[in-house]
C-alpha cells in the first residue's frame, strides 16, 4: 500500500459519483465497505463496469483483483448493462414445484435468451432469483421490479409480449 495516498478522482464528472462517494464516506472509506459501495454503484448506474471497479478499489485502497473478485463472487452484482426491461424468474423450491423451469424454457424458446442474458435488441434481460420470499404466491416472477404471483409459462409470455410490442 503506498504511503502517499491521494484520493482518486471519479471516472467522470457524472453527479451519481457523489452518491458513491457519500457511501464510502459513511463507512469511513474503510475497505470493509467494499460490498456496500458496490451496491451503491449498481443502484446508481445499473451495473459495474471496469472504470467503476478500478475507481472504487483505488478509493477504498484494496487491490483491483479483490474488487473484481467480490463483484464476480456475488450473484447480485452485474458486470454488463441490463436490458430495457428485466424479468426475474424465481427458481426457489416453491416456485420450481409450480413450474418455474417451464417458464424459463418457454422464454428461451420464444426469445432465445437464457437466464443472465439480454435479448439481442437490448429489450429484455432475463434473470433468476433464489426465492423472493413470496413462496405463498408461487410461481413468482418480477416484471420490472413488480412482483407477480401465480405465474405460468403462458402468462409470462403474454407479459413479455406486451413489452416487445411497445
Amino acid at each position: 500500500m503506498p504511503l502517499d495516498f491521494t484520493k482518486p478522482t471519479p471516472p467522470s464528472d457524472d453527479k451519481r459519483w457523489k452518491l458513491v462517494q457519500a457511501t464510502m464516506r459513511r463507512w469511513g472509506n474503510h475497505h470493509d465497505a467494499l460490498i456496500e459501495t458496490l451496491h451503491t454503484v449498481q443502484e446508481s448506474f445499473g451495473y459495474l463496469d471496469n472504470d467503476a471497479l478500478t475507481y472504487v478499489a483505488a478509493a477504498l485502497r484494496v487491490p483491483l483483483s479483490r474488487a473484481y473478485g467480490v463483484a464476480t463472487f456475488y450473484h447480485f452484482f452485474r458486470l454488463k448493462p441490463a436490458g430495457k426491461h428485466t424479468c426475474v424468474v424465481c427458481t426457489g423450491t416453491a416456485c420450481y414445484i409450480k413450474g418455474a423451469d417451464q417458464i424459463l424454457e418457454s422464454i428461451r424458446q420464444a426469445y432465445d435468451v437464457k437466464p443472465g442474458e439480454t435479448t439481442a435488441d437490448g429489450q429484455i434481460s432475463v434473470l433468476t432469483a433464489r426465492c423472493l420470499g413470496a413462496c405463498g404466491l408461487a410461481a413468482a416472477v418480477v416484471y420490472d421490479g413488480e412482483v407477480a404471483g401465480k405465474q405460468d409459462a403462458a402468462s409470462t409470455l403474454e407479459r413479455l409480449g406486451k413489452w416487445v410490442e411497445q
Binding site: 475497505h31 470493509d32 465497505a33 467494499l34 460490498i35 456496500e36 458496490l38 451496491h39 484494496v62 479483490r66 473478485g69 467480490v70 463472487f73 456475488y74 450473484h75 447480485f76 452484482f77 427458481t91 426457489g92 423450491t93 416453491a94 420450481y96 414445484i97 413450474g99 417451464q102 424454457e105 418457454s106 424458446q109 420464444a110 432469483a129 433464489r130 426465492c131 423472493l132 420470499g133 413470496a134 413462496c135 405463498g136 408461487a138 405460468d152 409459462a153 403462458a154 409470455l157
Partner: protein
Amino acid sequence: MRYYRSHVMVCTSPQCVDKGARTLMKRLQEELAAQGLADEVAVLETPHIGDCANGPEIMVYPDRVHYAGLTLEDLPSLVEEYFKKGRVVTRLLSQFRPPVDKELGPPKPKEVRVVLRNCGKIDPENIEDYIAEDGYQALAKVLTEMTPEQVIEEILASGLRGRGGAGFPTGRKWQFCRAAAGSPKYVVCNADEGDPGAFMNRRVLEGDPHSVIEGMIIAAYAIGASYGYIYCRAEYPIAVRTLREAIRQAREYGFLGQNILGTDFSFDLEVRMGAGAFVCGEETALMASIEGKRGHPRTRPPFPAVSGLWGKPTNINNVESYAVVPQIILKGSAWYASMGTATSKGTKTFALAGDVNNTGLIEVPFGITMREIIYDVGGGIKGGKGFKAVQTGGPMGGCLPAAYLDVPVDYESLTSAGSIMGSGGMVVMDEETCMVDIARFFMEFIQDESCGKCIPCRVGTRHLLEILERICAGLGKPDDIEELEHLSSLIRRSSLCGLGQGAPNPVVTTLRHFRSEYEAHIYDKRCPAKVCRALIRYEIDPAFCTGCTLCARNCPVNAISGERRQPHTINQELCTRCGICKQVCKFDAVTVS
C-alpha cells in the same frame, strides 16, 4: 425504568392536536393523579394511531383498547370506569379497524405465536408501538436487575436452541463467547435466510424489527460485546430499510449508543447487506462478507466465539433466536420451557409452501406432528390430491415420505429421519412431483452456490448433478444408484463447510425413501410422476378436443396443427414438452403419458 400496569398512548398528530389532544392529555394525567392511579398508568405521546378523523384518540396497552372522539367531560367517568374498575366504556370505543396483515392473517388452528406475536399488530416503523407491547422492558430488567451470568443462566434454563439450522443451545454459545479472551467482542445477527422456500426471518425483520434489536442488545450485555452487525440479504430491501429506521429510533430513545438507559453499558449496531450468495448464510462465510471479502467459509475450530470478525470473539445467532430472547427474560425461562418436547423447547416458525391449501407463515410449538401441520394448519393438499413428501431444512435438508407424517417435529426426530430442521422452510409435494427431479433441482442449486473453495463440494456436487441429469434424461445406467451413494458419503465426509457436508442430503433421503422411483427411471425409462421431459409425451385426446386452436396459438415451437373445430395433433418431433398446451387447454384434452 418503572413498571406501569398500563400505558396510555395519546395521539398527537396535527389533526388530533387541532382537536385538543394536548389539553386532553394534560387533563387525563391530572384525573389519573386525582384518582390515585398516577403510579400505575403512564401517559405517553404517539405520533399516530389511525382514527385521527375522529380525534382526539387514545390507545391503552396492554389491553389494546382504542378510544376516540373523547371530550374533557368524558375523562372523570372514563378513568373511574375503565382505569379503576376495569370496565371497557363501549360508548367511547373507536370504530377504526387496523388493516389485517394479509401475508400472515389471523392465527390458524393449532398456531401459537411467540416470535410472530407482534407481526402485523404493531407499526414496525414506530418504536412506541413496540414499547407499548412491553418492548425494551426486558432490556431494562437485564441492565438493572441481572448480572450477565444470570442472563446466560436464564437463557440456558429456557432450553432455547439456535434457529439457524443446527440447533446449538444458545445459552451455551453465549457462555463460550463470554469466556473467550479478546476485545472488543461482537454480536452478529444472521439475517441471510438463503434457503429458497423460507421467509420467516423476513417477516420478523419487516414486522417486528425491535424484538431482534432488543435481543441483540441483551446478548451483547451477557457476552460483554460492544458492537453488533445485522447481516441481511440484499433480496430483502424492505427489511433493510425497516431495520435501519428501527436502529435510528432505538438510538434516539437511548436503547443503543453510549450509556444505555443511564447504565455504564454501551453498545451500537449496524446493518450490512449481502449480495446474493447462499453460502454467506454459513457463519464463517458471513463474517468474511461483513469484512467486505468474497464469502468463503473457513474450517472450524476456531469457532467464531473464539475467533470471529477480525479475529475477535464473536457471537452469531439467527434472527429468530434473538427475537425470542426479550420474551424469555420477561416471562421467565419456565414459561418458554413449558412449550415443546424434552429436547426442543418453545415454538418454531415455518414457511409452509408447495401443494397445500394455506401456504404462508406459521408458528407452532415443537412436538406437533407433520400431519397436524399439513392438514390442520395448512388445510390439506391442494385439489384433494395425495400427499407424497415434505421437504424440510432447505437445500441441505431432506424429503420425508408419508410414513413420517405422525412423527413429532423436533430437532432430533427430523435428524433421525435423515432430514434436518434447518431454518424452517417446509415444502409440501403432492403425488405429481418426481423425486428424482427434485433431487436434481437441489443439486443444481448447490452446484450453483458452491463457493468453489473445497474440491469435494465443487467437483463432487457437479458429478452428482451430471448423474442425476442423465437419469432424468432417460440415460441412467445400472450402477448409477451405487455411484450416487458412494459419492454422497465421500462429499459428506470431506467437505469444508456445512454446505458441502449437507449437499448430498436431498439425494440420500430420496434414495432412502423413494428408491423405486430411481429404479423406474433407470431400468424402465419411465417417470412415474410424469415430470421428466425426456420420458413423457404430450398428446391431444380427440374425444375432448374442440378445435378451439388455443393450444396451437400458444405453442412456442409451433408443434401443434389442426383445422379450426377439428381435433388437433402434436408433432412429437417438434414438441419440447414445455406443457403450455396442457396449461391453456380449457377442456382437459391434453394428456401426458
